[in-house]
């Protein structure tokens, strides 16, 4: 009887211990080293003017934790073996047959600032079928990013009229083949290539620096965010350009002052430039007039960033662009200022 009591007692203790589990309906997430390398499109989109005969997109790897702890914000850890990435043109706008626009394709990557894989005769096994829009390319081991460049038929879209309908195409990564490696692709994201109409706002414009009031307007407008621009006189300036690109604006002052620039072993004398860049947050690019908003950041000496905003409207008439903008930066703001620009 006594023994029975003890057995009963021991059984109860064991059964109580067994009850201590409360992890029902749980799936453990894949983290740390089990989290795969991700191949993805480097950019969401790009655009070139309609007379351009090529465009490109890039495939890269997502940042990971630096195992050596040097890059605290993470860095790209290259693959240890070559992988084959498949991609496809997933949509077209303004045309039907991909082969009517894309003539050829090639792939390369940057070895250093002056050398590409093409220079070193490295073949990335680029295959592209213009009839189906599908292709594949080798993403080599040890490489952080590759670029795929398409040769295009410029005459397909190059005309002298303003096109209100959108023209371009979309590209997606579809899969990856990386035997023995934990690598996946992001197949959801899309690279959007847009053909930019040079009869609209896109393209490069020039400001007449001999027009004193226009020159002063430029100084007043962009001097808000750049002390050097604020102090310029017309005598210092060779030319002023404003360029509307895919998703961004570049305001460029080319000074008369020259400097020596060395690049890839060659040195040349060039005019010094002051460049202000801003993202096009709002732009009705498919019309000849409308509203626009520009947002950019200025970094101070200590590395801190501050945002500036320009809001206003634009109108394109026979290649002439009129911008009416008001700027805000660091508790200062400008009046509404008009710039008259021409191509």
């Amino acid at each position: 009887m006594k023994t029975l009591k003890y057995i009963f007692f021991a059984s109860v203790i064991l059964s109580m211990t067994a009850c201590d589990k409360k992890n029902d309906n749980l799936i453990a997430p894949i983290v740390e080293n089990d989290f795969p390398q991700i191949l993805l499109l480097a950019d969401e989109g790009d655009g070139e003017l309609e007379d351009e005969d090529k465009f490109s997109f890039k495939i890269t790897l997502a940042d990971r934790k630096d195992p050596e702890g040097n890059e605290l914000g993470g860095k790209i850890i290259p693959l240890e073996q070559d992988a084959t990435v498949n991609f496809e043109v997933s949509d077209t706008k303004g045309f039907d047959a991909i082969s009517s626009y894309i003539l050829d394709a090639k792939a390369f990557y940057e070895i250093d600032d002056c050398t590409s894989s093409e220079d070193a005769d490295i073949d990335l096994n680029m295959v592209f079928d213009a009839r189906t829009g599908k292709g594949s390319v080798t993403f080599p081991k040890g490489v952080e990013e590759i670029e795929i460049e398409f040769e295009t038929e410029a005459s397909l879209f190059d005309d002298d009229v303003f096109n209100e309908e959108e023209r371009g195409l979309e590209i997606k990564l579809s899969s990856v083949n990386a035997p023995g490696q934990n690598v996946v692709v992001n197949s959801s994201n899309v690279f959007e290539y847009r053909v930019l109409d040079d009869e609209g706002i896109y393209g490069e414009y020039e400001l007449d620096i001999d027009d004193a009031s226009q020159f002063q307007n430029y100084i007043n407008l962009f001097g808000l965010v750049n002390e050097e621009v604020k102090g310029l006189s017309a005598d210092d300036v060779e030319e002023i350009k404003i360029e509307f690109q895919y998703g961004e604006l570049k305001a460029l002052v080319v000074l008369k002052q020259t400097i020596q620039v060395s690049e890839c072993g060659e040195t040349e004398t060039v005019n010094r430039e002051i460049e202000i860049e801003a993202d096009l947050e709002e732009l009705e690019g498919d019309s000849l007039k409308g509203d626009l908003e520009l947002v950019g950041e200025i970094e101070d000496d200590k590395g801190a960033s501050k945002e500036f905003v320009y809001k206003g409207s634009f109108e394109v008439v026979s290649g002439a662009l009129t911008l009416v903008l008001q700027g805000e930066f660091d508790d200062d703001e400008t009046e509404e200022i008009t710039l008259a620009l021409s191509k």
């Binding site: 203790i13 201590d20 749980l26 894949i30 990971r64």
Partner: protein
Amino acid sequence: MNLKALLFCVPILFLAAMAFGQRAIVKGKITGQQSKEPLTGATVLLSGTNNSTITNLNGEYQFYVNSGNVNLTVRYLGFRDTTLTVNLKGGELKVLNVALSGRQQKLSDVTITGYTQGQAKALNQQKNADNIKNIIAADQIGRFPDPNAAEALQRVPGVNIERDQGEGRYVSVRGLAPQFTNTSINGEQIPSPEADVRFVALDAIPSDQLASIEVTKALTPDLDGDAIGGSINLITRTPQSSIPEISGSFGGGYNNLMGKSNLQGQLQYGQRFGKDEKLGLLLNSNYYHNDLGSDNVERSVADNELELRDYELTRTRLGLSSSLDYKFNNHHEIYLKGLYSRFTDREFRRAYVFAPEDEEIVKATKDRFESQSVISVNAGAKHTFKKFFLDYEAQYSYGEQNTPYDNEAEFIAGISSNIDFSNSRYPAFQAADYTNNSLYEFDAVGFGKTLAKDKNLTAKFNIGLPYKLGDNDGLIKFGAKARSKDKSYRIQQNTVENLGGVPTLDAFEEDPVKDEFFSGRYELGRPLNVTSLIGYYNANPGQFELQVEDKAIDEALESYTANEDVVAGYLMARQQIKKLMVLGGVRYEYTRVKYNSSDVVINEAGDLEDILPVSGSSTYDFILPQLHFKYELSKFSNLRAALTWSYARPNFSEIIPAQEINREDNVATVGNADLMPVSAINYDLMFERYFGSVGIVSAGLFHKKLDDFIYRRVLFNTSYPLTGPAAVTGIDVVQVQNGNAAQVTGLEFAFQRRLTLIPALKAFSLYLNYTYTHSKANIQSREATESDSNVQEEIRLPGQSANVGNASLGYEGKKLSLRTSINFSDKFLSEVGGSKAEDIYVKSRLQLDASASYALNKKIRLFTEVLNITNQPLQLYQGNKSQTIQREMYSFWTRFGVKFNL
């Protein structure tokens, strides 16, 4: 040597020099004649004198007396005094076991069983203790519906508890926050399983595991000195006799809010073996499974946000304890005691955050599992020699908080909303189509994992030298202790955001966990199922982007390792001078601490610039004189006074040198490894009047003067680091520092007795206690500016409730017992904000519980308990009472079942 130490040591050394006479030893066990239960706290008195000794938890006593014919009187509340004569030769040890009979003439028709028996044990110990303490015995705990140690402690005068999801968790004693109280198991401190604090979440310890709980409010030199509020000792059970004792309980329960049942069970076996019962073994196990939840609404004043939180929890408590002892003979015994407790908590939090300023509504779900485990093993021995006694013990204890997963996902909808807090109980909102999950886009999911470890290795010894001074007994006692603590915290955090392609929330929704939220006042729609999202994440990792920088910051900032070595020694003497007992002595404690953690530097652009390893160390020591007086006004009345010195070590979160230098915001938050403990001088005065029929009325005053009070300080426009060459200038540094004084003054009142004076109510008992406290502390004014940074401001101490009390009315019939209990705690400051308007208070709360039991026979009893009958919420407010920032409702829950003692 310090003057105050000298003052206390010299008289003790003088006493030690006194010659010892021809002495003998009487020892034995006092039990109840009917119940055969050991009588804890009984007085064994040398008749005609005030010299006495007290029985321990097992009813055992040991008395050094002069040889010859000795008359001993045994006294115990609720029992008749019993006098016996024993003849002792010089150097002889005689065993005298006594079985006391009940106080029949006063308690006719009333049996001292159950609650009264527990109350008697507790009050006898309390009455005969040398210092001011409160004791609650297992039988007493069992009569209140208190499933864990924290809730059992809420019935003690001067004790307030902080709750989590309606269940008691942290204990504050005498108006001081939990970090001012230390917690021990079987007399030795246990480590905290939590990462950043020292205090122990007592909801991890099931009350069924305990034989009794002691709350010492005035320290004696043989106790650890790091307890300003009080010292809590949880005492586990021990085997009593050769008759096997098998007792336990099984039951279930119901949580009204969740509509779910709960389950509990306890089983204990204890027996002494052998002809002379030399070997004792006790095993105790218990398990409690509780499905609970809460409906919660929160307000963020600064961000103008409203949050609805639907909590669903499953908590389990598993307790295993054992005691093994062997008595070689009447002089020598050894023991081994073990305790293991494991508390698990699976929490789902399904929430909406309405953010009108951002024109966003966030829908989130958190799924977190956490376990807290405590292991404690004590091995020791007790030796009784002719002239002295010796005990020594080694302890290994380990606490761990393991969070293997803490997964939290958020989806955001760009829906505008209006929120209205004019009804502070039920804030209102308008938001179109907010339950439409197809409008919510994936924002982020975090996968957290943490492990906090705390290990103590302790060794100690005590030596007692009884002596006689004239006709009065005395005792000199000294001892030493060494403890080494290793604490660490590791964190792994992976947060991923949308790299592109993650579907909207409707792809991951699930059925609601309950029909109504806040009785149907708010509609929550179909919640987010995190597990479903994780399944999608695992299948499509290419759509998720790891936040590498956040991972580096989180993991570096919170991880640390620490080592703390403590060496202590004490010398004390207890002297009976007729009716006056004087106990005095001094304790010395030396502490050396070392810490390792990381500096996290955020640059001006807001990016992580660097993570640098840092370490810190410090040493400090304390000389702690303690002086106690107890004057026996009558057989049942004591007047007590105490003057004691104590201290409280800082929380680990305050002292580890982890630092975050944010150059973007120009603020640095810096740990302070040089932070000194808070020291205190404590003054106590207490009057107690006990009732022979088991009861007490007591009143006490206390005052605590705290020095080096710890507070958060902002050093404006300073350099970083604070010492040495400046790496950064013109930065505001926030650091916890010492410097300011604080004080707590209070009044305690307690009454408990059977209402035997009124014949019709003789089966009823009343249990009342009330504590009033007042506190003030000076801190750097929250209005302080760079040019005016030394301006001071007076605040009350965080955690201090002005009014705390209990009222309980019980009926104890022969078979049926009923009890209804009220616990009240006044509002208290929970968090010191950046300004007075940002101070956060917990509102006052009154909880009503009831319990009943019915004895089927002497061995089996049915019981039932109902908790939080009036559905009292947890409520917090910010700045002023009308600005409620959190309201959490639990409804009531019950437990019922059968208890047996075979």
